[in-house]
Amino acid sequence: MLKIKRVPTVVSNYQKDESADESVGCGRNCLGACCINGARLPLYACKKLDKSGAGEKPVAFLESLVLGEWEDRFQRGLFRYDVTACETKVIPGKYGFVAQLNEGRHLKKRPTEFRVDKVLQSFDGNKFNFTKVGQEELLFQFEAGEDGEVQFFPCMPLDAENSPSVVAINVSPIEYGHVLLIPRVLDCLPQRIDHKSLLLALHMAAEAANPYFRLGYNSLGAFATINHLHFQAYYLAMPFPLEKAPSKKMVTTASGVKISELLSYPVRSLLFEGGSSMQDLSDTVSDACVCLQNNNIPFNILIADCGRQIFLMPQCYAEKQALGEVSPEVLETQVNPAVWEISGHMVLKRKEDYEGASEENAWRLLAEASLSEERFKEVNALIFEAIGCSYQEEELEGTVVEQDNPSGSVNQKSNRTHGGPITNGTASECLVLQ
């Protein structure tokens, strides 16, 4: 395979003059064709991966880059509010849910502009997407490197031909250091998981080398707010309740990926770990996500433990909400159970919810998002089939043994609508402003 040697582009005098003329652009210094000429960002290419140790290692290079650039934007006032001025606490209880009082966040957040009953929707350039953000919101380019060493270029041109992936700030941060990983930003991919992108996200988690830096993903219908492929990440130096939940192993795949289900957690979830390589783990999870997407099942993903653990949480809160099945008390909090909430980090808008936050309340809210036991089993069956795995439940007598399905094709079960999310049956647009 040809290796491309990275060399900063030398801009000729002729080119310089040209770009000087076009420097006006649309005036917003965005990533559109109008402004992108001459755009430069640091580039971080991570090293080919090995399984390194964990724990309190010194602050890694990537961590310094993320924090240093974030603090720079922080001091420049690019965020809608100072998240460190928002009171936060650990709710007493077995799990230690984290609550934050943030009255301004939902007022200042960009509203959701698409229907919430379809997991797969095409990219719409007219709606807000990440090519419309100002370049000052971008921190650096990020790519999975080929070398044994980290390669860092402080000032690399943003070249559409290289299909760059970027890390940007989240201007409405949940915590300090809240960033967005936008794979191949200029390719304008819609919000859906593909193998290459999930692997990039895993690389970032591993490279950060800090178990308190997690990446999260919300599918459409599971409270993604922008239909442009992105992951979120931030630092919280304590375990998420989701990470503390006990788990029970279900299967180990042929590539060594161990799949477990979480026990005694309000949202029924799967945990993927192991695998003979990071790619194996990533591909297995991607296969599972593609299956969920094709079956219109909304889901969230949490990448934890430096990329060693991936939690997959299918959910149905939006459907329940549309059917009027969510309890009024939970609705009143106006908390949408996206990946961070399900992981156990709740941003609360009302003081009374914050003051009265309890493990019970948190549990009750999250439980509304969970699939039922029965539906979860159905979904798992779909996933295992897509992965090419056989899973036999121990308890039931005369259990149907799922056969290995090498083609991984989706079978007829997928069209079952009982207990599932709203399918394409609804003719009218279902536009919900969040």
Binding site: G55, E56, V59, V90, E394
Partner: protein, 391 residues
């Protein structure tokens, strides 16, 4: 409170230095007394960057196959490996962060590379006078048999493949069995290895014995330690978990507390001490003005003071006076910023020093400005999270 260095010869090795720091807390012969205990245990110091082991018992060295020099100064995770259960690692990390005891079975690796199961029992040791965690004591009890924990709840004692020929299929309970050797293949099936009740009792006994020795020798030294926190941590004392987090930051910086009179330094990184030539005990509790001198521009000092009063970050170039051998001055590109804790209010100011001559860097590294700001960011994360500890 000064920690007197034991006859600080310039030629002490890193091992001796760390061991010296440990012994200095207690009265003479502490190491000899601990050496007499039969148990395997280690003692770590959260206030040294990297939270290293500062004492390892002969039992520990025998069990792991390492020499003292190979162990002192290393962090406990050095003995973990690819098959070590991630959940156990997290449980230990969280117990340290929350300054509480933990007892968990975990797979560790010897110097030879062979893995073995042991029951890891760790407790914090508190200073009686200031309520902070002085050390963590960790006891390791090898797990001699193995109980498979699986769905069917089977709890038969079985032995590893290498011992099958010895047991001939019969159940043999050995008091002082060696830890089970396991080849890597078998480990695939070992999700968890539960310690027996007697092993758990052994760990409790061992912890108690170590703690008694420490207590006794600390008493002689006039600075009592004990297993329970006897008073609330004093205001200018940082939690051990915050100190551990700050210890990850390799640049020169200090934390000062604006809520205490004269805004004293409450934390100074190792790099700060190296840069300025001062010792930690000379710096803690002092206002930063000790770095200023005759030729320091007072208008710059005024500018800093204004920013602090307004709670705004600022960067200044200031002439500082070091305590290095040559007592040289240096130009300090100093960045200061208020830092909030979980309550949302300002708890500290962070000051990040950069020696001006260091401005030229290789093109392959972060810009100095970014590096300086990254310290601020790392401090913000550490401070915000440290106050959210569940107690």
């Amino acid at each position: 409170m000064s920690i007197t260095q034991s006859s600080a010869s310039l030629f002490t090795t890193a091992t001796e230095e760390k061991e010296g720091a440990f012994s200095a807390r207690y009265s003479l012969w502490i190491k000899e007394a601990l050496d007499e205990l039969p148990h395997s245990f280690t003692i770590t110091d959260p206030f040294i960057s990297g939270h290293p082991i500062v004492f390892a018992s002969p039992g520990f060295l025998k069990m792991t196959g390492y020499s003292r020099e190979e162990v002192i100064g290393r962090n406990g995770r050095a003995f973990q490996g690819p098959k070590t259960n991630r959940r156990s690692i997290m449980e230990i990390r969280e117990a340290i962060r929350e300054e509480r005891p933990v007892q968990v079975s975990i797979l560790n690796y010897r110097k030879s590379g062979s893995p073995f199961w042991m029951l890891f029992h760790m407790i914090p040791v508190f200073g009686n006078d200031d309520g902070r965690v002085i050390h963590f004591v960790a006891v390791q009890v090898p797990i001699s048999g193995r109980k498979m924990r699986n769905g069917s709840g089977c709890s038969e004692m079985v032995f590893g493949s290498c011992r099958r020929e010895v047991c001939l299929g019969s159940y043999v309970h050995q008091e002082r069995a060696l830890p089970v050797e396991c080849d890597e293949q078998e480990l695939e099936n070992w999700e968890h290895c539960e310690a027996s009740e007697s092993e758990k009792l052994k760990s409790v006994e061992a912890v108690g014995n170590v703690l008694s020795v420490l207590t006794r020798y600390s008493e002689f030294a006039g600075r009592l330690v004990c297993g329970k926190r006897s008073c609330l941590r004093v205001a200018d004392c940082l939690s051990s978990s915050l100190v551990i987090s700050l210890g990850r930051i390799k640049q020169s910086f200090v934390l000062t507390n604006p809520c205490l009179p004269d805004m004293p330094v409450v934390y100074a990184s190792d790099a700060f001490l190296t840069l300025t030539g001062y010792k930690r005990h000379e710096v803690l509790g002092q206002n930063c003005r000790f770095l200023s001198g005759v030729d320091t521009d007072s208008s710059v000092l005024y500018e800093m003071k204004e920013c602090i009063l307004k709670g705004k970050p600022c960067t200044v170039q200031i002439l500082n006076y070091s305590n290095r051998k040559d007592k040289s001055t240096f130009w300090n590109l100093l960045h200061i910023s208020p830092v909030r804790n979980a309550s949302g209010k300002t708890a500290y100011f962070v000051g990040v020093q950069m020696e001006a001559s260091c401005k030229d860097i290789e093109s392959k590294e972060l810009r100095p400005e970014t590096r300086q700001l990254s310290v601020v960011g790392a401090v913000r994360v550490a401070v915000r999270s440290s106050f959210m500890v569940t107690c």
